[in-house]
Amino acid sequence: MKRKFAAAIALMACVASTPLVARDIAVAAGPGAQERLQEALIVAQPGDVVKLGEGRFALTDGLSLDIAGVTVKGAGPDKSVLSFAGQLAAGEGLLVTSDNVVLRDFAVEDSKGDAIKSKGADNIVYHNIRVEWTGGPKETNGAYGIYPVESENVLVDSVLVIGASDAGIYVGQSRNIVVRNSIARFNVAGIEIENSFNADVHDNVATKNTGGILVFDLPNLPQQGGHNVRVFDNIVAENDTPNFAPKGNIVASVPSGTGIMVMANRDIEIFDNVFDGNGSSNIMVIGYRQKYDDAKYQPSVRNVRISDNAHGKTGFAPQFAGGEMLAAAFGGSVPPIIWDGVGGAEASIVSSDDVPVLNLGLSRSDQPIETAQPALAKLTGDAAPRLPKIAMPEAMEAAIK
């Protein structure tokens, strides 16, 4: 008992050497912002709030945060602007590598690489953030806007991303993910969930991108086997920006005019979304089509349930190989839902939407598209299991209330 007491005192004595209450560390825009802001991000202690003042922070290098439990909070996404137009080095504007971090109420503009990357950063919250490449969609823009990777519990809420040359909001190799209430415009991919498990993507607006919302799985990565993703209550409209991704990247193969594309995943639900004005197709469900060398990789799609979506005008300007011919064959436009057909009935791809479905009739995901045997299909049968809602730890939800 006595020993326990002594240990408790010892612990308290140590804690007392660091601040007991969370501090606000205010950083103003203006001269020397690079070093002042970076130093604040280094000396911050768990629980502290690094407060960005109003104005434009002209930055020359990437910023990074490696302290757990820190909040970076601006005065608003149009008031506190981290501008990387003069960036000389680093792969991203802001890099976060610690857990339990909240990023909110500021903007990142014109970063040379990715805008905000969080890697191995569990329980990360992105809230009320604007990421923008201010020159509009250009191949020279940075790749990703909001970029959490290798993380558990990712909450992206109320962000706006404009102009990413790859994906506006990209969650990669992560688990337990919510992307909601956000807007992606003029990116190659609006929102992308890649090589990830357990995600809810809902109440977002994906418009004027090349492809609105992508759910992908790629080979030769530490985490693969993407599954359990629900895409619902989103508006996915007029994704008609020509693809401006650098060749070689997987999104460079996404046809302009794509609403939602599911590639090489399993256990996916797409429901209650509103589609309109996507010239190629509203929903594409396809396998990975490129050559790969990875025995562990599963290239085809299985278990997809499509239901209760509203389909506006679509398929009127297909931007993929053979699209015009398909449109001609099917009454002037490509059907709103396309499945590559790989796996047949056993793939369990089900749609109860009241629109035609095109089955390309492929037997392998990498089969040449010229050998497809496209036909309208009814995708009925056993619906994929209803997936549970994704919940974040309470502290993460509380952080943005």
Partner: protein, 341 residues
């Protein structure tokens, strides 16, 4: 009461257990205690002006294949407390005891003309390694801590004879970690016996201070630009291992890329870059399909990124503002030599 004092000492081992620094010698408390000394002189690594007189308690070494940093010269030292010993695993990687320090000074000019810009220290504390950057004052009287890093105008002498002005980037504390992190913790990169080059006295000192678990092979690794030390393949891989693998390994900052350039990745050709498609490379792909297109350096993302100085494309992401022309030439030659499938 006695119990309490012991508990305190245990729980707060750093600040309370340290001894007062002895003038003229290396300060163990500056290395081991919590906190960040504001000046390099507080450690006592160098006596007199600048870096010309390193303490005789330091073991100096260089690397056979070093990391490229804008053609900077680097002076490297190891400090181990007098009574402590280094251990080396079977692969010759050195594991330093608490209280050790690795000291690396970056500058330009050789020999007596060497002019230091910054000194980075890695401090082995009870809590783990701590990385701190110190920038030398113009009069070389001392170097000051720059936690947030800085940029300095520097003129780099080049082999062609022309001097090249650059904005030299001193990394901030976190950027030190970007390269030195393994599974989130800071670790040294360079001191692996095979890649270390030591002069007679330093070699003897290191040997005598180290418990070797395997056969000692000091200085046996290929020298990247010396064909007499290894095949093209071996030298190229050594270059990539030192320049890239600190991030590009399964525990490093680039773990999510799936491109692993550490020696252990050799069993998986795609992971080493052969016909590996880009992931999250963005415009870093340069329009190419593969990290390494065997036989075709002009279509290899690796060459494209090494040849660029543009943020968002350039690899490594930090630590250089110039292209390492000779390094790119080596990798081009190597990729050209690889048989296409």
């Amino acid at each position: 009461m006695k119990l309490r004092r012991i508990a305190l000492a245990l729980a707060c081992a750093g600040p309370l257990a340290s001894a007062a620094p002895v003038p003229g010698s290396i300060s163990d408390s500056a290395i081991q205690d919590a906190g960040y000394p504001r000046t390099l002189s507080e450690f006592g690594f160098f006596t007199g002006q600048g870096v010309t007189a390193p303490s005789d308690q330091l073991i100096g070494y260089s690397l056979r294949t070093p990391l490229f940093s804008d053609y900077a010269e680097k002076q490297r030292f190891i400090y181990v407390p007098a009574s402590a010993r280094i251990s080396a695993d079977a692969n010759g990687a050195l594991d330093f005891p608490v209280g050790s320090a690795l000291i690396k000074t970056f500058g330009y000019g050789e020999g007596a003309a060497f002019r230091p810009i910054e000194t980075r220290v890695l401090l082995r504390r009870a809590s783990g390694w701590e990385a701190l950057p110190y920038v030398w004052k113009p009069d070389m009287s001392d170097a000051e801590l720059k936690l947030a890093g800085t940029r300095l105008p520097v003129t780099v002498p080049r082999a062609s004879g022309r001097a090249q002005p650059i904005s030299y980037a001193v990394p901030n504390k976190n950027q030190c970690k970007e390269c030195h992190a393994r599974s989130g913790a800071v670790v040294p990169i360079g001191p692996v016996a095979a890649n270390m080059a030591l002069t007679g006295k330093a070699a003897a000192s290191l040997r005598s201070r180290t418990d070797w678990k395997g056969p000692v092979s000091l200085g046996s690794a290929p020298v990247w630009n010396d064909a007499g030390t290894g095949s093209l393949d071996a030298r190229a891989r050594a270059y990539l291992a030192i320049n890239c693998a600190h991030c590009h390994n399964p525990q490093g900052s680039a773990s999510n890329s799936g491109l692993f350039l550490n020696a252990g990745a050799a069993g998986d050709p795609v992971a080493t870059g052969l016909y590996k498609r880009p992931v999250a490379a963005g415009r870093g792909s340069g329009g190419h399909d593969f990290a390494i297109a065997p036989g075709d350096p002009d279509r290899s993302i690796m060459v494209h990124r090494m040849s660029s100085t543009e943020p968002g494309i350039a690899m490594p992401e930090v630590g250089r503002s110039l292209v390492h022309d000779e390094g790119v030439a080596l990798i081009r030659e190597w990729i050209s030599s690889l048989p296409a499938k």
